[in-house]
């Protein structure tokens, strides 16, 4: 039995400390703003492995890959017992997660088992063709904390495949549901999870001619929406730091559009660099220490980086063209960006230090907003042709292009941290506004991501745990 202690950033719940092992790394922005109070509570959750037995059957049978023979793994999540409504809610969060995972298919309305701590009678689960069963129990601790334990059972063998316990503040039960979802997803697919993540997006209200845009943050399933800006300034294209609680985005302050950085915890904001012109389309480097962006001067836009430690800026491209939407490869050695240097918007790859760039998009129409997958294997993009806007992926050498969704207007993909899904926005046009959607990289399942009003420009956080 192993005991893991992790530091987690919580958005709800009272802070409490139990054992604490290693010193947390201080993110960059916090070094800059260490005098500001940290508004977000830190919560320790202990994760206990319960009697983890090896699977009787082959693991990773849900091969996360393409092919028409794909079948999702069916899973029956029984109602977590012990704390009434909390268990029902937690179970529903897990089921909702799995529905959008595409690779797992939850069996509906399986109810509760008599004893969630023992191997259940598999007969009813076999009859609904479930391959796995999840049982769970919630227990209120003496100090008010909630203990949430789950067990994953292999229906064919009847053996327990996984089991873990989580300790959390009671009003953090959604968070626990996401962590349990990730643990189960990983156990079955062999892939990293993506449920314990957040989305920052641009909340849009008001008439289209004078849209009010605010940065907002929420859980990946749309819960716990919180606004990060007030709507006084127009804000667009937020991007998560891969290493800290910072965002970079473009905002109009006093009518001057520039790239900013915002710390989600402290609310502190600063301009990124002192550039003689509009800066836009920012994105962090994979180590979180640089921001790459476009600078508009005259009629051209070129790519620059700013080192966040030294504040030194470096010019990467020098063309009369529009070079924008830069994104790093996960190892930081290359960048992908769009440029109209060849006459229309196309996707190019070059060294992260600039220099010769190789065009990788060659289909009909225009290609834009390339984003390198955190796994490195694909580049997601927007493709515009014949009056439609599609979201697609291609390999970094331009081969293997696959359109995941296409329609009147789809734009702005962002990757889930496991590289298996992209989120984007879809705008029906006219006086209406955009909404967020997600799709897996094989285009098998597409789902709306709920937002309070119109939403655009999503950016997916790294895994929180």
């Amino acid at each position: 039995m192993t005991l893991l202690t992790r530091w987690l950033t919580s958005q709800a719940g009272t802070p409490y400390i139990t054992s604490f092992i290693s010193k947390p790394r201080i993110p960059f922005m916090r070094r800059y703003f260490r005098n500001f109070p940290r508004s977000v509570a830190l919560v320790v959750m202990a994760v206990v492995s319960l009697l983890t037995l090896s699977l009787a059957r082959a693991e990773n049978e849900v091969t996360v890959k393409g092919g028409s023979s794909f079948k999702p793994v069916t899973i029956a999540v029984t109602t977590f017992q012990g704390e009434g409504d909390i268990g029902t809610k937690l179970t529903s969060v897990i089921n909702n997660n799995f529905k959008r995972s595409v690779f797992l298919l939850p069996v509906d309305a399986v109810g509760a088992v008599s004893n969630p701590d023992a191997a259940p009678d598999m007969t009813p689960f076999r009859s609904v063709n479930a391959q796995y069963v999840v049982t769970g129990r919630l227990t209120r601790q003496g100090d008010g904390r909630l203990k949430a334990g789950f067990r994953l059972w292999d229906v064919a063998s009847g053996a327990q495949a996984a089991g873990q316990e989580y300790f959390a503040d009671a009003n953090n039960s959604r968070r626990v549901a996401h962590m349990i979802s990730d643990a189960i997803f990983t156990k079955i697919t062999g892939e990293k999870g993506f449920f314990d993540t957040r989305i920052v997006f641009v909340d849009e209200t008001g008439p289209k001619e004078r849209r009010i845009k605010r940065l907002a943050i929420m859980d990946q399933d749309g819960a716990n929406v919180r606004y990060l800006t007030k709507g006084n300034d127009l804000v667009v294209t937020p991007r998560f730091s891969p290493t800290s609680q910072d965002l970079t985005y473009m905002a109009f302050d006093n009518g001057e559009p520039k790239v900013y950085m915002l710390n989600i915890d402290s609310g502190q904001r600063e301009v990124v660099g002192q550039f003689p012109g509009m800066t836009f389309s920012p994105r962090f480097s994979p180590d979180g220490q640089k921001i790459i962006m476009s600078l508009s001067q005259g009629s051209s836009s070129n790519l620059y980086t700013m080192d966040l430690r030294s504040r030194q800026t470096t010019r990467l491209t020098d063309t009369p063209a529009i070079d924008t939407s830069p994104s790093y490869s996960p190892d930081g050695s290359k960048i992908v960006f769009e440029s109209d240097r060849g006459g229309s918007q196309q996707i190019y790859v070059s060294s992260a230090s600039g220099g010769a760039a190789q065009r990788i998009s060659f289909g009909d129409g225009h290609y834009s907003t390339p984003v390198w997958s955190p796994r490195g294997d694909y580049i997601a993009f927007t493709r515009q042709r014949a009056g439609s806007f599609a979201i697609g992926v291609m390999k970094p050498d331009g081969s293997g292009e696959r359109i995941l969704t296409e329609g009147y207007h789809n734009e702005g993909p962002t990757w889930a941290p496991n590289g298996l899904y992209v989120m984007f926005f879809r705008d029906p046009g006219g006086a209406a506004g955009a909404k967020l959607h997600m799709v897996d990289i094989f285009g098998r399942g597409e789902f709306a991501v709920p937002t309070p009003s119109y939403g655009s420009d999503p950016t997916w956080s790294p895994l929180l745990n």
Binding site: E209, R210, T237, T324, S368, H409
Partner: protein
């Protein structure tokens, strides 16, 4: 203090401009389909407001109503067409006559493009107008440019009658005489 005042006036004018363009939109969508560049929208606006009068020569309203504050672009283009050049010739004459105004050229794009590119495209359109006005003798020190990308459309519908009005560069006079 003076900056604050200028900012307020700027916003007022921007709102006024948007309102005018909207009413022109409803009226002139058919004209735009026939007439192309969308300059009809501005001309229509002039006609519609002629009876309103109240445009003191040299006032911001005089500029907006009698000269025309905007030019339009073809899809994904930043070149000025002959209608646009004619409008800018009028602007240059007016701006030369009333030489105390500083102004901002706002570049805009329609919604049929991606966000980042549209900011760059709007910047190019504003630059295109700025260069033209400089070539007609307007001092570059009087001219600022800003791009709004596709963030501030004046017409919202799913066809070219709206997109053509949104692909624009608008010359916005600073309220205070500088």
């Amino acid at each position: 203090m003076s900056i604050l005042l200028a900012g307020r006036t700027f916003r007022l004018i921007a709102a006024l401009g948007a309102g005018l363009a909207l009413s022109a939109c409803a009226k002139n969508s058919a004209d735009d389909l026939m007439g192309g560049s969308g300059a009809n929208g501005a001309n229509g606006m002039n006609g519609g407001l002629a009876n309103a009068g109240a445009s003191t020569p040299g006032s911001i309203q005089d500029f907006t109503v009698n000269v025309g504050d905007r030019v339009f672009f073809e899809s994904d283009q930043t070149d000025l067409n002959s209608t646009g050049q004619a409008t800018l010739d009028k602007q240059a004459r007016w701006l030369s006559q009333y030489g105390t105004y500083a102004f901002t050229v706002e570049g805009h794009a329609d919604e049929r493009g991606t966000r980042e590119y549209n900011f760059a495209l709007g910047a190019r359109r504003a630059e295109s107008v700025k260069s033209y006005l400089i070539s007609k003798g307007i001092a570059s020190a009087r001219i600022k440019t800003v791009s709004y990308g596709k963030e501030r459309p004046v017409a919202t519908c799913n066809d070219i009658s709206c997109w053509s009005q949104n692909r624009r560069a608008v010359t916005v006079l600073n309220g205070g005489q500088s």
